[in-house]
Symmetry: C2
Subunit: 369 residues, 2 copies
């Protein structure tokens, strides 16, 4: 049988993620597999935990990578902290807010949402109003809405949620490593991210963190977590302390990859990493505007790592993406939901947030349009 992996094309991944994997991460993935209770591996777990704490700016003891993709992080964030009948408020302005609603409802949450137009940010006064009208157990917001390119004002939303006595859940799948994520300064209680965006690691793990208040809520549950695989109360016995009780077999080599990816970010320095993402974004926007292309999102709410570009009238957006892929070996993303056919999504994440990469995608777009 032929091995299909012998003939993989090298594609520059400028979609909504996965982004291109960094060289150090590729190397890490194929380092020797160790046992999940091996003392050397446990050392790497401890280092990985510390690195997540550094990159997400938190001292939360419960900080580790969930053994699944970013969506497993979302599932973990809801299934552990809400019980049937709990009131949940979702701030919804894109695919991932919508997904949160579905996740929480399946778990028996009484879910309300405040909805904002896709491509616009959450409006803080509307959140304030909603919190004044009703008492919520948990409020959830997506920091970086990958489906629209919008940054939501988590730092302004957080104090309102805390004052209202609810737990604050923040989806940082796309933001972590590309823009400041400051869990403790915000007062975020539940946080998850993904590996395949600004960390430049393949998909497969979800860096996760829970505050003391969240852990107290978990401990006070009346019902068992209805998900054995993602039950934090058991998983922490493997990730924490002296006992290291076996729960499930950790994805060893993926954890190597995440460790290397986080080490890369910390070695570069958080501020430089974020500045590099901002610079790439500004370079891209300037280039696109020169070509007469418009951004979907207003300045001030634009994500650096995910750029939503309006498809000009009369242009076949799918044909452009297809030509970029086949002729230029560049992947960019399509719009989703109400934005399908209306935008392209250009990701400049992690290893790809570089001037030469921006030049390359601008040049390719110019030649195709």
């Amino acid at each position: 049988m032929n091995n299909a992996l012998d003939h993989l094309p090298e594609i520059l991944l400028l979609g909504p993620g996965p982004s291109s994997t960094a060289p150090e991460v590729y190397q890490a993935l194929s380092r020797p597999t160790l046992g999940h209770l091996d003392p050397t591996f446990i050392g790497i777990m401890d280092e990985t935990k510390k690195l997540i704490q550094q990159v997400a700016r938190t001292a939360n003891a419960v900080t580790f990578p969930v053994s699944g993709t970013g969506s497993a992080g979302m599932e973990t964030g809801f299934v552990n902290f809400i019980e049937p009948g709990d009131s949940v408020l979702i701030l919804q302005n894109g695919v991932f807010g919508t997904r949160m609603k579905d996740v929480a409802q399946r778990l028996g949450g009484q879910v309300d949402s405040v909805d904002f137009e896709w491509g616009t940010p959450v409006i803080v006064s509307a959140v304030k109003e909603a919190l004044e009208k009703k008492k919520y157990d948990l409020v959830a917001v997506v920091h970086a809405e990958t489906s629209t390119g919008v940054a939501n004002p988590v730092s302004e939303i957080a104090p309102l949620v805390k004052a209202a006595g609810a737990l604050l859940l923040v989806d940082g799948v796309t933001s972590l490593g590309g823009m400041p994520v400051t869990l403790d300064a915000w007062g975020a209680d539940i946080f998850y991210s993904g590996t395949q965006k600004c960390l430049a690691c393949p998909p497969g793990l979800a860096p996760f963190s829970a505050s003391e208040a969240a852990v107290a809520r978990l401990k006070a549950r009346k019902t068992k977590v209805p998900n054995w695989y993602l039950d934090l109360s058991m998983i922490v016995n493997y990730w924490e302390g002296a006992k290291r009780a076996y729960h499930h077999t950790a994805p060893i080599n993926m954890i190597y990859g995440l460790y290397a990816a986080l080490l890369r970010v910390v070695t570069e320095g958080l501020e430089s990493t974020h500045a590099r993402h901002t610079a790439a974004h500004e370079q891209l926007v300037a280039g696109l505007q020169k070509m007469g292309l418009q951004m979907l999102v207003q300045p001030g709410s634009r994500l650096p790592m995910l750029n939503a570009v309006v498809v000009p009238d009369g242009v076949d957006e799918a044909a452009v993406r297809s030509r970029l892929l086949t002729e230029h070996h560049i992947e960019i993303g399509a719009g989703l939901g109400p934005l399908a056919g209306k935008i392209w999504r250009i990701g400049l994440m992690g290893y790809n947030a570089r001037p030469d990469v921006v030049d390359r995608v601008l040049g390719a777009l110019k030649s195709v349009l």
Copy 2:
């Protein structure tokens, strides 16, 4: 900061899993990351599906790797196919049967179990009796009990379960690739495995398969699957057909690894692979017996890939494992639950089911004891 991955020891992994990763699989893990909707990657998904079908001997259309470890496979197997109030029978003779009970109960299943002594197999007549006494919606059995080294007689249990009108769930985490797994011949409805045992791939994915009867049960559910991440009805829209609807981002590089691991098994041939596991097992048992060591499990019920060895009286079992690890760079496993302190578990899985590996562990054991 130091990179801890630069100084990883090379350990021969002869515990209950992870087993040592095969060279082709290491290579596969670090092949270029592609987008999860890239046509080349979708081709690899299709090939991976076909390879799982071949190795598990099934034509089930719903066959794919779950984006989590073997335990996520177990969660998927229960959360999609039982609803609150459903009657579930677990055949329980080790850790993984016990875990199934917990998983199913958390989902609202009315769970009974037939229990057998750890280290002994499920007794078919006892299953028959239980099925005559009560009507069950689902019956679950572990094919290869990794905690005890026992092979359960799935081929004899399956027809009883089918005749009783229940779905049959088979845990094949440790068996797949190391002994015959024949889903369609058995009539198994729900099956999951892991990558880190006889497939010689790091942990992180759970090869999964569901029969038409199981899918019909899924479609007839009265309630939504209470787990967004593992909801098969959505996941199949990504793994099947022309649409390839985005659900969650697939763990691209881990899927490369699984693809290469399965290709390796199919290239060697299933019968040769199984024979190689049997030969390694027999060589080990002969060598252990020469040293005066006893096996926990009676001949006829012994797993080839997981050997439960009785710790002789007066021997400090933990010290032996520790010396094997530090002096010989060999990891073997400890006993769990009622067998803690009483057995060692020596895995000869996948890449490690080889005569030279057996010689090495026998030699090391001899020198330590």
